[in-house]
C-alpha cells in the first residue's frame, strides 16, 4: 500500500524540521502513541494503541530515521507488530519552502500483514489515510504554537 501525499505547515522548514525530529512532540502526534523511546540517535522504539471503532490493538515496534538532510529530507524505516498482525514500511519525506510555509511531500510504501490485511482490506487504505491525516493535523498544531511562541 502506498501512502503518499503533501501537507502544508505555516512554519519555516527549519521549524518544521525541528518539530519532526523532536521525539517528545512526535510521540504526542502519532495517533495512539503510548510510548516512544530513543534507542539510539536514529532509532526509536514505540508502543501504539490504535483504535478505529471497535477494532483496537496495541502494536510494538521500531522506527529508524535515515539519510537526514536538514531541513529538506529524511528517510525512515519502520516496523511493528501486534494482535492484528504487523506493519512494515519505508518512506521518504521531502520538505520545501513554499509561500512562507513548508510543504512536506511524503511517500511511504507500507505492508500491512496478517489478520487485518486478510479481513480488513475494504477499510485499510481509508484508515491509514485517516491516521496519517490525524498525525499531520496535530503536527500542524504544534507548528502553529511554536510559531506563535
Amino acid at each position: 500500500m502506498k501512502i503518499k501525499g503533501e501537507t502544508t505547515f505555516d512554519a519555516s522548514p527549519d521549524r518544521v524540521w525541528n518539530i519532526l525530529m523532536d521525539p517528545e512532540i512526535i510521540s504526542q502526534c502519532i495517533p495512539g502513541c503510548q510510548e516512544l523511546k530513543e534507542v539510539s540517535d536514529d532509532e526509536f522504539s514505540a508502543r501504539l494503541r490504535i483504535g478505529i471503532g471497535a477494532v483496537s490493538g496495541t502494536y510494538e515496534g521500531t522506527l529508524r530515521i535515515n539519510d537526514r538532510v536538514p531541513p529538506s529530507r529524511y528517510a525512515m524505516v519502520f516496523e511493528g507488530s501486534g494482535r492484528g498482525g504487523f506493519v512494515k514500511g519505508s518512506g521518504e519525506a521531502l520538505l520545501r519552502a513554499e509561500n512562507g510555509g513548508t510543504v512536506i511531500a511524503y511517500d511511504c510504501d507500507v505492508e500491512v500483514g496478517g489478520l487485518i490485511a486478510s479481513v480488513g482490506q475494504r477499510v485499510l487504505e481509508g484508515v491509514s489515510t485517516f491516521l496519517v491525516g490525524q498525525m499531520f493535523s496535530k503536527l500542524q498544531g504544534f507548528a502553529a504554537q511554536e510559531e506563535a511562541a
Binding site: G51, I52, G53, A54, V55, S56, G57, R83, G84, L115, I116, V119, G120, Q121, R122, V123, E125, G126, V127, T129, F130
Partner: protein, 293 residues
C-alpha cells in the same frame, strides 16, 4: 475464530448502561444487534474487556411519528423498521434503504442505533441519516445531547459519540408532500456492503421547481458524504435529466474514493455519477407521483 474473553453486562435501564460505560470507558463496547461487532470479535479484531448488551433495555425499540419527526429508539430492529407502516408512509427513504441491508436474518437482529453508531461508511443508515439531515440523541454522564448528522461522522467507524455515551434515539424529519426519494446501490453480490450507495431526496414546489434537494453517497470515503454542490445545481430549477446528469457529475467530482479488492477508485467515482443519477431520476419520478399539497 473464537472471541477473546470479556466480562458481560446486560443492563435493564439506560442509566445502568451509562454507569457501566462510565466505569469502563474505552475498555467497554456496547453490543446492540451484534451483526457488525460480533464478527469483529470472532476475528479478534475487536477484543473489548467489557461488553454492555443493550438488548435488555426495554424502552429503546419504539418507532413513533410526532410533529413532523419520526423518532426511532436505538434498539429498533431493522426488520421492524422494514415492516413498519409508519416508516413506509412517512419515511420511504428509510424503508427503501432498510431492504438493502444484508438479509432478513441480519435485519432481525440488527438495530438502527447499532448501524449508525458503528458508522460503516458503506452502510445504508448513516447515509440516510445524513441525506435527511436527521439527528441522533445520545445520553451521557452530562445528560442528553442531540447531534446533527453532519456533526456525527468522523471517519471509518468513528463518530463523535464518546465512549461513555449511549446512542438512544434517531430522529428523521418527515418530508413535505411533493417530496420523492430513492436509495440505490451497487454491489457485486446481493446483500453485501455497497461499493457505492446513493440517496436522493427531491422536493418539488407548486411552481414545478425543485425547492429542496438532498444527496448523500456511501462507500466512497471515510464517512457517508453529503453532495452539497450537486444539490445546489438542482435547487430552484425545474428538474430534468440534463440537470440530473450535471448534478451527478458534480457529486462524482467531489468524492475521493480509494481502490479496494472489488473496485478501483476510478470506477467508484464513475459509479457515484451513475448511481446519483439513477437515484435522482427515481426520486423525481416519485415526487411527481405524489399528490399535490
Amino acid at each position: 475464530m473464537k472471541p477473546s474473553a470479556f466480562e458481560y453486562f446486560r443492563p435493564t435501564s439506560i442509566d445502568e448502561a451509562l454507569g457501566l460505560l462510565e466505569r469502563y470507558d474505552f475498555e467497554a463496547k456496547v453490543v446492540a444487534g451484534g451483526q457488525s461487532l460480533v464478527p469483529l470479535m470472532n476475528f479478534r479484531l475487536a477484543a473489548p474487556a467489557y461488553l454492555v448488551d443493550t438488548n435488555g433495555i426495554s424502552d429503546l425499540s419504539y418507532i413513533r411519528r410526532t410533529d413532523g419527526v419520526i423518532a426511532l429508539g436505538a434498539m429498533a430492529r431493522q426488520s421492524e423498521i422494514e415492516d413498519s407502516p409508519v416508516v413506509a408512509e412517512s419515511c420511504p427513504l428509510l424503508h427503501e434503504a432498510t431492504k438493502l441491508i444484508g438479509h432478513r436474518t441480519v435485519r432481525n437482529r440488527g438495530t438502527i442505533g447499532g448501524s449508525i453508531a458503528h458508522a460503516d461508511p458503506s452502510a445504508e443508515y448513516p447515509t440516510v441519516l445524513l441525506a435527511l439531515d436527521g439527528e441522533v440523541v445520545v445520553r451521557g454522564p452530562a445528560g442528553k445531547r442531540v447531534i446533527p448528522a453532519r456533526e456525527l461522522f468522523l471517519t471509518i467507524c468513528t463518530t463523535t459519540i464518546a465512549p461513555n455515551e449511549l446512542l438512544t434515539e434517531i430522529r428523521l424529519p418527515v418530508l413535505p408532500a411533493g417530496t420523492g426519494s430513492a436509495f440505490v446501490e451497487l454491489n457485486r453480490r446481493h446483500g453485501d456492503w455497497a461499493i457505492v450507495g446513493a440517496a436522493a431526496v427531491l422536493t418539488v414546489g407548486r411552481d414545478g421547481a425543485c425547492s429542496d434537494a438532498r444527496i448523500a453517497v456511501a462507500g466512497v470515503g471515510g464517512t457517508p458524504i453529503r453532495c452539497s454542490e450537486a444539490e445546489d445545481i438542482l435547487e430552484g430549477r425545474g428538474l430534468d435529466e440534463t440537470l440530473f446528469e450535471a448534478a451527478a457529475e458534480r457529486a462524482a467530482a467531489a468524492v475521493d474514493p480509494v481502490d479496494d479488492l472489488h473496485a478501483t477508485a476510478d470506477y467508484k467515482r464513475a459509479m457515484v455519477k451513475v448511481f446519483v443519477g439513477r437515484a435522482l431520476t427515481l426520486a423525481s419520478e416519485r415526487c411527481r407521483r405524489m399528490p399535490d399539497v
